[in-house]
């Protein structure tokens, strides 16, 4: 997965769309922006589902570090 943050990628995508809608671009620039925009769009879509749902309870261990254990969910509520 790319290191690029979703927020940055999304902002860049918005900026690219705005730039393209601003017009006055050469075809070459338009194509480059389009490619970059599609890349960012794919990236954003990936980022949306990048992380799997997980709910965990943090437990303080004796050495002061944090351990995790699954947190029981009320499945019927979902």
């Amino acid at each position: 997965m790319s290191k690029e943050r979703f927020e940055e990628a999304f902002k860049k995508l918005e900026a690219i769309v705005n730039k393209m809608e601003g017009g006055d671009l050469s075809l070459d620039e338009s194509l480059k922006l389009f490619e970059e925009g599609m890349r960012l769009s794919k990236l954003c879509s990936q980022k949306l589902t990048e992380v799997q749902k997980k709910v965990e309870l943090l437990i303080k261990s004796e050495d002061g570090s944090l351990k995790t254990q699954p947190f029981p969910l009320d499945e019927e509520e979902e």
Partner: protein, 459 residues
Amino acid sequence: MTRKDYEQKIYTVSELTREIKDLLEEEFPLVWLEGEISNFRVPPSGHYYFSLKDANSQIRVVFFKSSQGSLSFLPEDGLQVLCQGRLSVYAGRGEYQIILERMELKGWGALQLAFEKLKQRLLDEGLFDEARKKPIPELPRTVAVVTSPSGAAIRDFLRVLYRRFHNIQVFIFPVLVQGETASLEIAQALSMLNRSSLGLEVIVLTRGGGSIEDLWAFNEERVARAIAASAIPVISAIGHEVDFTIADFVADLRASTPSAAAELLIRPQAEWEEKIEDLENRLAYRLKQALRFRWEKLHYFQRRLGDPRRRLADLALRLDDHSERLRRGLVIHLRNQTDGLRWVRERILGLNPLVQVRTNQSHLELTTTRLNHLMAQRISKLGMGLQTQGKALQVLSPWNVLERGYALTQTLPGLKLVKDAEAVQPGQAIRVILARGEMDCRVEKTRKKEELDFVKGTI
């Protein structure tokens, strides 16, 4: 107005009451009041009416039903309370009273004052400044919730969160949310989460509704400090909509309830997907438009340039046309020229030299005949004259003179006629022409005419 004005003016009861009302209500907009409840009664309207009294005085009090929601105890006569309210004059009865907004048992009243003081101090310190607030990531993937794991708050939060967005991780940091140690646990939890390596993007600090007493941990300074110190953005969601704690003021974002915190935390997945799709569509549309614009431009230029085949066809047609016109022009020209030539020819034929020659010849013949005739005449006439002249000439001919014995003398080799003796020198060669033959001689001697003036006479 001076005292004098008061004495001079005669008020109506209403006027005076209105002025008193204005004066009192302006002077005491919101007051804290401490006292003992007495004459407590509840009419069917549900509003509370009672008096607050101390050793020497009492004041009427109204606690409207609409304000009673925050009340954490049932009032009764004899209870010491701390109230907050506005002073109000009821003109109909000429009475003044306090309209309460909140009322606490006296012990809690002290806490309330402490709350106000802490709030003011932290406000002055700048802990509530908007500029300090950290932005909440738009798509947090890893979130910590500091709360009671058994409370309704975490259930509400998780339910709403996962209904909106599935792909998110939640770590629950269990703490006591009320009681003596609550604030310490909360402060420690915040600092531990900040030191953890979980990659947390947001911390949600939450608990469900309760009395002001129950929520008190969130009004403590150490919690406020821990929130302010957190490098990770903190969302607070404590109690119900009406409850505001110090923690709410310091937090980067305040949600009114645990469910609201989940809603503020993240947009629904579908909304994100729509947004991304919309951007993608706009992107594609713009590219298509850019391409279409170029195509149109290209076509425009092509149209302006014209199809070379059509241009060739045009040129071929023009060539044909011009050739035809040229051919026709030439034919006409030739015909014209032929006509002209024919005319000239006829004229030339009219001027045939043979005819002229013939004409001229006959004329010449005639003229020649005449000339010949005239010449013959003339010749015969001249011939006759010549004979006569010849005879006369003969008489005058030097040859005739020479016949008579005279001689002609010429110098040699000059052949100059010598008429003067002085023209020659002795010894010079001379030729003497006689009537018959001649003699080349040499001068012996010359004599001037003076020496011979007789000679002519002599001869």
